[in-house]
């Protein structure tokens, strides 16, 4: 049972971080399908930091450095989307899809190059971080507390305050609802959209590193992040673009994801003989059903996906 809670919380943290990222981007008016790719890049940044970090640093320094590295990697990578979607008015879905493919390919190429430069026989695309990973974990009576759970909680609180209680957040949302109106009262729509996309890059990158350190201590970058970026999108929609609801949705989806990992440990679930795939599938099915009933009065930002053109009215 403890294991289930632990997995639920860590998966929920991943989903929460990435979905909040998507939330910022979409509230600014840019659809971010590329979250999956951003996660891979963030994971890569964090994993490389863990690989090269000198041993013997205090745990807090390791945590901060790794967080910084993944956030930075995510931020830089999300610039690809920002530039294409905001300055060049590219099709956001197309660019996002390209970023997902590019993220996995680029990460694999990089990690393989690094691995084979170290040792000519090593052609794997994995990075190991057994020792460094211990810095993130604190054992509380059999429950492995992960500092990233706290990071996710903080991110939730900060996002809520920023989106609803600050001038910046409200302006950001205005750019996603009606950019022309926002522009007419002197808000720089381009800047706001950049801010939204870059914040989503930071949060997505963080989500990536949390995901690859969640259960394992080495990561094969060829596999990308196995659809977690898309799951986070589902969480965001399920949460109707609102931070608190997103958090609840993340917990629910995290629970299903955790069940697929540990369901065999529960007698009554194991006796049902449901294959693991079903648990993996459930979050997607549920969100599809929910979408069916809620989409006619969707709370999606109205101007999302439409490039902002100053000349248009």
């Amino acid at each position: 049972m403890l294991l289930l809670i632990q997995y639920t919380l860590i998966f929920a943290s991943v989903l929460l971080l990435v979905a909040l990222g998507g939330c910022f981007s979409e509230h600014s008016g840019v659809i971010n399908i590329g979250l999956e790719g951003i996660m891979v890049m963030g994971a890569l940044g964090g994993a490389l930091m863990m690989k090269y970090i000198p041993a013997g640093l205090p745990a807090i320094a390791i945590i901060l450095l790794v967080i910084l590295a993944s956030a930075l990697a995510g931020l830089v990578y999300s610039l690809l989307l920002a530039v294409a979607a905001i300055n060049f008015k590219a099709d956001q879905t197309l660019v996002g899809t390209a970023m997902n493919l590019l993220g996995t390919a680029a990460a694999t190429v990089m990690v393989r190059a690094i691995n084979s430069a170290e040792n000519a026989d090593n052609v794997s695309s994995s990075i190991q971080y057994i020792e460094q990973k211990k810095a993130f974990l604190v054992n509380i009576g059999g429950f492995e507390f992960n500092w990233f759970m706290l990071v996710a909680a903080v991110a939730l609180a900060v996002s809520y305050v920023v989106l609803y209680k600050t001038r910046f957040g409200l302006r950001l949302q205005a750019c996603g609802e009606h950019p022309q109106a926002a522009d007419s009262v002197g808000i720089n729509v381009y800047k706001m959209r950049y801010a939204g996309v870059l914040i989503s890059g930071v949060l997505g990158g963080l989500g990536g590193i949390v995901y690859i350190t969640a259960g394992v201590s080495e990561w094969k970058f060829e596999n990308g992040v196995a659809g977690f970026g898309f799951l986070a999108l589902a969480v965001m929609i399920f949460g109707q673009w609102k931070p608190i609801r997103i958090a609840l949705a993340a917990l629910l989806f995290g629970l299903f994801r955790a069940l697929s990992n540990v369901y065999s440990g529960f007698d009554f679930l194991a006796s049902l003989q449901i294959p693991g795939s079903v648990y993996n599938m459930l979050p997607y099915i549920i969100s599809l059903i929910v979408l069916t009933f809620t989409s006619s009065k969707s709370r999606a930002p109205k101007a999302e996906g439409i490039p902002y053109d100053k000349g248009q009215r």
């Binding site: 399908i33 590219a90 997902n100 996995t104 190429v109 795939s277 997607y284």
Partner: protein, 374 residues
Amino acid sequence: MDKKKKNILRNNGLQSLIASLVCILLGLFVGFLALLIINAGGAWDAIVAVTKNFLYYPSVPAQLKYLGSTLVKAAPLLMCSLSVLFAYKVGLFNIGAAGQYVAGAGACLYLALGPKLPWYVCLLGAVAAAAIVGGISGILKAYCNVNEVISCIMLNWIGLYTVNMLLTNVKEPTSPYTVTLANGNEGAIMPTLGLDKLFTNNRYVTIAIPLSVIVAIIIWILLEKTKLGYELKATGMNKHAAKYCGMKEKRNIILTMVIAGGLAGMGAGFFYLSGLEQWMCTQTSVPAMGFNGIAAAFLGGLNPIGAIFSSYFIQHITNGGAYVDKSLYCAQISDFISSMIIYLCGFVFFFKLCMNRFLDKREERKAGQKGGEA
């Protein structure tokens, strides 16, 4: 004289072609830079290897054989790109080509290996299953206003896990792969009609390849020359206007997704019924074929005929990745290049804008000169 020249460069098709070539060249250039960073010495050889693909072999029969291998994979890619571009013409972004492809793969392999049906039944099964998956997105879009991108993403993953479960019933007992068609049911392999002879007995070269080109031409005719195509495109431009003109806009949206799904499913049939590869039942990611279809569709300028060439090109460099010096680089470099090209396709609109601006300026200058003379 002057006027004629202007018309050619202003031609939308030619502009698309130029923009696509720019994307390809820039993509290759970025790939080259990445290779330079990894290892400067072999970068040029590697990029040449990627672009040469089967020409790597000195003898003509070997070249033909590996050209065949590229074509075998280019045919399903073409179908996926047709699926994407067909939906895009009707204003829908079919990111679900990947999931529809998965559904088609599941259906055709199960029909081939479970009840051991002949290939044409399996192919139809693949088309039907994928059309249903596409149709679900269409119905949700038409009646419940669910964004097709989101429902397609959900269906991609639902499809993947369902197919994994379904095909576990027909897999090899000792490996995660499905039973090969050659062992399980030879009747399910698509006929070659002697095409394999043309490609030095490459037995995976089947009628799928000419069929895919024929389908591309049919789709072009459907979109450009028929009433149905016109109605579908009108619905894509403005749903409300289409309704006002008496078109059944809901039916059109659903029909589009059904056709798009069917195309992707046919692609899956073309690929898995050639017997080249088996399905891995422990797969945790949606096959890239559908996403590459998006690339091919946009690179081909969203034109079915253009898609024939762009699909071949993307598959050409993807296969070419296998020929880079493995001690220096990895084969994924070609994935890197092709995803870079897709990314750059996002800028096509901008390229065209630049081209038009350049032409405008030149004309203005000319007009100015003429005015000065007069």
